[in-house]
Symmetry: C2
Subunit: 366 residues, 2 copies
C-alpha cells in the first residue's frame, strides 16, 4: 500500500473545517509560504485557522508594535497540550514579538473553585514550565490576573456596561457572577495591551486551542464597542487543533492516565504511552498485511505535534506504518525514547528555572 493520505491532513479535519465555515474562522494554509511560517504546526495544519492573522503578520513584518498574549488556567499541571501554546509563544518570540502571559488565577478561583494558595503556587509552576520549554523570560512578561493595576480593572468594569445578559447566556450557557467576571477578565487580558498605561497600542495575537474561540468572539465584539471611546481594536487569533488524550478522547482532568504532564516522572509517562490507543490491527499478521492506521493513532499524533520535528522523518514513520513494516510495540518504544529525551531536557531546564522564576512574576498577596 502506498501513501495516498496526506499525514498533514489529520483525521478529524472534517470537524475542524465545519468550524471554519460556521464561525468565519479562515484557513491558515494560504499564508504559510506568503509569510514564511516555518513552524511544523503550520506545515502540518495543527494550527489550522485564524482571524486577522494576516493583519498581525503585516505589522510584525513592518516591525510595528506587535504582541502575543495568552493565558493559562493554573489548574492541575501543564501537559503536552499546554506545551503547544508554549511552543507557539517561543516561535513568535523568536520572530520578534513581545510576549505577555496571564495566569488566570481569578478565573480558576471563581469558576473552578480552586484554593487560592494552591493556584498561586501552580501559576508560578506554569510560568516555570513555559520558560523551561524555551520561552525567553527576558523578552516576556508574566502576571497574575488578581495582581494587575487599576487601568486593567477599569476595563473590566467598563466592559460590563456593553455586554448583555442575553449575550453572556448565548456564549457561556449561564450568567453566574463568577462566569461573567471570568469572561470580562479574559477580555481585559487580551485588550489591556492596547492601552497607553500598558505601553501604548499594540497589535495583539492570541494563539489558542479552537475551543477558546467563544472568548475571542466576545472580545472582538467588545473591542468594536469601545473603538471610539478607548481606541480598542480587534485582536488577531490563531487556532490549533486540540491534542487528544492517549485514549483518543478529549483530554480531561478526571482521566490523568491519558495525558502526559510535563512534571510526570519519566517512568509514569512511559507507562501512559505504552497504554495509548494506536491505529494497530487486531493481529500482527493482519497489520503486516494491511498496514497500521496512523491517523487513528495517538502515538502518531504525538509525533506530529511534538516528538518529530523533521518532516522527512515523520513521512518515513507514516510510510512504515501504513505499509505494515513496523508494528505498534516497536513504534511505541521509539516514541518512548523520543519522549524520554524531551522530558529529561525539559525537567532539567525546569529544575534550573523554578527557583528563579519569582524574579519574573509578582505573586498575589492573598
Amino acid at each position: 500500500m502506498s501513501i495516498t493520505l496526506d499525514p498533514w491532513g489529520y483525521a478529524a479535519i472534517e470537524d475542524y473545517e465545519k468550524l471554519l465555515e460556521e464561525f468565519g474562522i479562515k484557513p491558515v494554509k494560504d499564508m504559510i509560504s506568503l509569510y514564511s511560517l516555518d513552524h511544523h504546526f503550520f506545515a502540518r495544519n495543527v494550527i489550522f485557522g485564524h482571524r486577522d492573522f494576516d493583519t498581525w503578520l503585516e505589522k510584525l513584518k513592518a516591525k510595528d508594535n506587535v504582541a502575543v498574549l495568552t493565558g493559562f488556567m493554573p489548574s492541575g499541571s501543564p501537559h503536552l497540550g499546554t506545551a503547544m501554546v508554549y511552543e507557539e509563544l517561543k516561535y513568535f518570540q523568536q520572530k520578534g514579538a513581545y510576549v505577555k502571559i496571564a495566569i488566570a488565577d481569578a478565573e480558576a478561583y471563581a469558576v473552578r473553585r480552586e484554593d487560592r494558595g494552591d493556584l498561586i503556587k501552580r501559576g508560578v509552576e506554569f510560568i516555570a514550565h513555559a520558560i523551561a520549554w524555551g520561552v525567553n523570560p527576558e523578552k516576556a512578561e508574566f502576571y497574575f490576573q488578581t495582581n494587575m493595576t487599576s487601568s486593567y480593572y477599569r476595563l473590566i468594569q467598563m466592559f460590563s456596561r456593553k455586554v448583555t445578559e442575553a449575550e453572556m447566556r448565548a456564549i457561556y450557557g449561564d450568567v453566574s457572577p463568577a462566569k461573567i467576571m471570568a469572561a470580562l477578565t479574559q477580555a481585559a487580558d487580551i485588550l489591556h495591551l492596547q492601552l497607553e498605561e500598558y505601553g501604548g497600542f499594540k497589535y495583539v495575537l492570541v494563539p489558542v486551542g479552537i475551543d477558546q474561540d467563544p472568548h475571542l468572539r466576545l472580545t472582538r465584539d467588545i473591542a468594536d464597542r469601545f473603538e471610539n471611546e478607548l481606541g480598542l481594536k480587534r485582536p488577531s487569533s490563531i487556532y490549533h487543533k486540540l491534542l487528544r488524550g492517549l485514549d483518543g478522547n478529549k483530554m480531561s482532568k478526571s482521566r490523568p492516565e491519558y495525558a502526559i504532564h510535563l512534571d510526570d516522572p519519566i517512568e509514569l509517562a512511559e507507562k501512559k504511552l505504552m497504554n495509548a490507543l494506536t491505529g494497530g490491527r487486531a493481529t500482527a499478521e493482519e497489520q503486516r498485511k494491511l498496514g497500521g492506521e496512523p491517523l487513528k493513532c495517538m502515538i502518531f499524533e504525538l509525533y506530529m505535534y511534538h516528538l518529530v520535528r523533521d518532516d522527512n522523518e515523520l513521512r518515513d514513520i507514516y510510510s512504515e506504518c501504513v505499509n505494515g513494516k513496523i508494528l505498534c510495540g516497536e513504534c511505541k518504544r521509539r516514541a518512548i525514547s523520543k519522549l524520554r529525551e524531551l522530558m529529561i531536557t525539559h525537567s532539567e531546564n525546569y529544575n534550573e528555572v523554578i527557583n528563579q522564576v519569582e524574579k519574573y512574576v509578582k505573586k498575589p498577596s492573598f
Copy 2:
C-alpha cells in the same frame, strides 16, 4: 389646639417601622442616651434604624480601629439629601472615626451609562461639596472606584465565586453584567477596609439611606462567606429616612425643580422652596382656625433635617403652625432666610475648596 403629636415622630414612620420588622433592622432609639448620640438626626429619629451599630459604638468608645465608609454616585450634583450623608460623616469624624469616601464612578458608568469624563469631573465636585459641608479632608480619604489597587479588585473577583445568579436576581431584579459588577464593587468598597493591604482590620460603619439596605444585606452575607478565608466581618450600618422632594414625592433627577441642589443659584433655590408642598389649609381663615399640618409639610421637613438645629426652636415652629399662629407664606420666608444663610456659607466654602480638592484625590486616567 395643643401639641399632641411628637414632631420627632415623623409622618411616614409607619412605613419605616414596617421595614424594621421585615428586614431585621433594629431601632436606633434605645441607643441614643446610652452612647450620647448628640446629633439631631438621632434625636429626631431621622436616623431611625441600624444593624450592629452598638458593636461599632463600643469599638469607637474603646478607641479601637473604627472607620466610616460611604459611597457617592457622581451623577447630577449633590442635593440636600446627599448632604445628610455629609452631615453624618462630619459627625462621626468629630467623634474620632476615620472616614473613607468612594466615588462610585464604575457603577455610574456601567449602570447609569454616564460619560466617563463627566462623571470624573462630577466625582471631584461631590468631594469638594463634602469638604465644603464640613468633612475634614485631613482626616478622610477619597477614592474613585476605578482607581483602586489590586487587592480591592481581587476582592471583587473572589466575591463573584460565592454569589449566585438566583441571589442577585432576588436582590436586584436582574443579572446584567453591569448590575453584577456594580453590586460586587459596592461590597468591595465596604469590606476592603478590613484588609491588611488597606491598613489592617477596622470595624466599618456604613451610614446610608434606607433604600440602600439591599446592598448591605448582600455585603453582610459575603462577609460571612469569607470570614474563614479572608477574616472579613459584617459591617455595621445605620439608616436614615429619605428626604423627600419639595412636592412630597421621592426625589428624582427627572424633576429637578423639587430638589434643592447644593450648587443651585440662591434665587433658584428660593423659587423652588416657594413652590413647596406645605401642610397648609384651603384658606387662611381655615388655617388660623384649625392650624397647619407640619408633618405633611416639606418646609417643616427641611427644618427638621437641615434648617433648624435647635430643638426648642423646632418645637416652637411646630407649635406656631399647629396652633394657626403662622401661615405658610410667612413660614416659607423664614425658611428661605435660613436656607439662604446655609447656602451662602456652603457656596463660599465650596469655591475655596474646589481648586484644592485634587490634592485629596487622584483622578482616573481614562
